[in-house]
């Protein structure tokens, strides 16, 4: 990014904030709060430690859910590769599960697991698992058959092939799955909190709405956006380090903020 690009980006930011300020002047701060109020409240919430407390609760739900749902989902395609018949039997169920609107499961999870962290973790896991599973499956299926046959000539066992050929080839795909899933994971945690919680950024938005405290709602929304951008950036860094063997033009990474 050259200097000109950075200046242009700042201009866009200024325009957005100015538009926001105009809206709050025209419609009233009760509906739109105002950039300055949000900024000040943001500082206050950080100083009181409240923002950190709520954000860490949401992040914990998103992280636990992503690991709980994502890791088995990234491993399952390797097992199914060895058992193609089981894979063929299960395939329509996976497709169905992927298509089902998981957010609609939130009330069910709350019934089952109560109002603490568990139902949010379950909701996040149910969303992340399908995204990671399908992405990793695409990677496992895309394995270069020539690499496999050459490795067999070298004396590789099936386990060697899974470990040295299929796994490294599928990592970029698994990562792409996690990258796509990250905003959904945080979104799902927030939805869980909106429905029933006394903690988290979703709870903050909900309580802001009940009190007509739009400033608090905007503070939560801005925080969520920042979190998603930072998480995306971290995954991108991690991915770039892990996939340093790739020629730069071949990277799978979609154009996402922070990469």
């Amino acid at each position: 990014m050259n200097a000109r690009g950075i200046v242009d980006r700042i201009i866009v930011l200024v325009l957005v904030i100015a538009g926001w300020e105009l809206c709050s002047l025209y419609f009233g701060t009760i509906w739109f709060s105002s950039p300055l109020r949000v900024f000040n409240r943001f500082g206050a919430e950080i100083r009181s430690g409240d923002l950190f407390f709520q954000a860490s609760y949401t992040l914990r739900a998103a992280l636990y859910g992503s690991l709980l749902g994502g890791i088995p989902a990234a491993l399952l395609p390797f097992a199914l590769r060895r058992h193609p018949i089981a894979g063929a039997i299960l395939d329509p169920y996976f497709v169905g599960g992927y298509g089902a609107p998981k957010l609609a499961l939130a009330p069910l999870f709350i019934l089952w697991f109560g109002v603490d962290l568990e139902p949010k973790v379950a909701l996040v896991a149910s969303i992340v698992s399908f995204l990671v599973f399908f992405s990793t499956t695409a990677g496992v299926n895309a394995v270069n058959a020539q690499y496999v046959s050459v490795a067999r000539v070298f004396g590789a066992s099936e386990r060697d092939i899974a470990r040295h050929i299929v796994w490294p080839g599928a990592i970029p795909y698994a990562f792409a799955g996690f990258r796509v899933a990250a905003p959904y994971a945080i979104g799902a945690a927030v939805v869980g909190e909106l429905i029933s919680s006394n903690r988290g950024l979703g709870f903050m938005i909900q309580s802001g709405a009940t009190d007509f405290d739009t400033t608090l709602m905007f503070v939560s929304l801005v925080t969520l956006t920042v979190i998603v951008v930072v998480v995306n950036y971290l995954i991108g860094r991690c991915e770039r380090w892990l996939l340093r063997w790739r020629p730069p033009t071949q990277r799978l990474t979609s154009r996402v903020v922070g990469t």
Partner: protein, 266 residues
Amino acid sequence: MNPACPMLEVKGLAKRFPPRSGQALSPWVLADLSFHVAEQEFLTMVGPSGAGKSTLLNIIAQVDGASAGEIFFRGKVIETANGAALQPGWNCQIGYVTQDDNLLPWRTLYENVTLPLKLQGRFDAAGKARVDELLGATNLTGFERYYPHEMSGGMRKRAALIRTLAYDPPIILMDEPFGAVDAQTRTQLQQDLLRLWYRGGKTIVFVTHDIGEAIALGDRVLVLSKSPAKVIAAHKIDIKRPRDLGNVYRLEGFGDMFEAVRRDIQ
């Protein structure tokens, strides 16, 4: 080891691929193909494109199965068309250098070259020394930490070659290994290959569609027919070694041999 017994013998080999659904039987790719290779011989095979050369090497390497025929390794049957499970590379005795280098893009040059040794549990001091020596012999020393995408076409070909040499299979099959490189790099690669082969101990079956290459490298040239492939002619190459590959057309007897092989191919 019986000197009268060939290193590798192929008898009556035939191959047709399974028919596609809704179609009659697919045509034969190989039919009644027989030949042998002596210990430490450099055998080259030429044939028109699409003759089934790669299919033949795939079957010998046991990457693919035969429809009929037998293959012997030092007098022992190692493959028949009886449907028994294939053993690719036959216990690491048959090396196979394919058309594409097939270096794993996520492993460095060194990690690629040492992969077979690691898989075979033979990456010991002797293996390491052998790898270092081969890297030196092919001018790859200093590039060990490069990833394949950072290497030139010629470097990748040399890496693929020494990856197989490093684990020391007695016989190596080569399927147009120097296809997609420029003429100068190709000559260099051929020189490297011959130099490594002069050290002895290796039997090579080298398949190409380039008559000049087949004559320049081989002790014997077999000519394959159009599909279904069978051996239609064999020429012993008496050009004395070492051969200057930069000037193959000046080698004594090259022109006549080239003409003879070209006539057979048509």
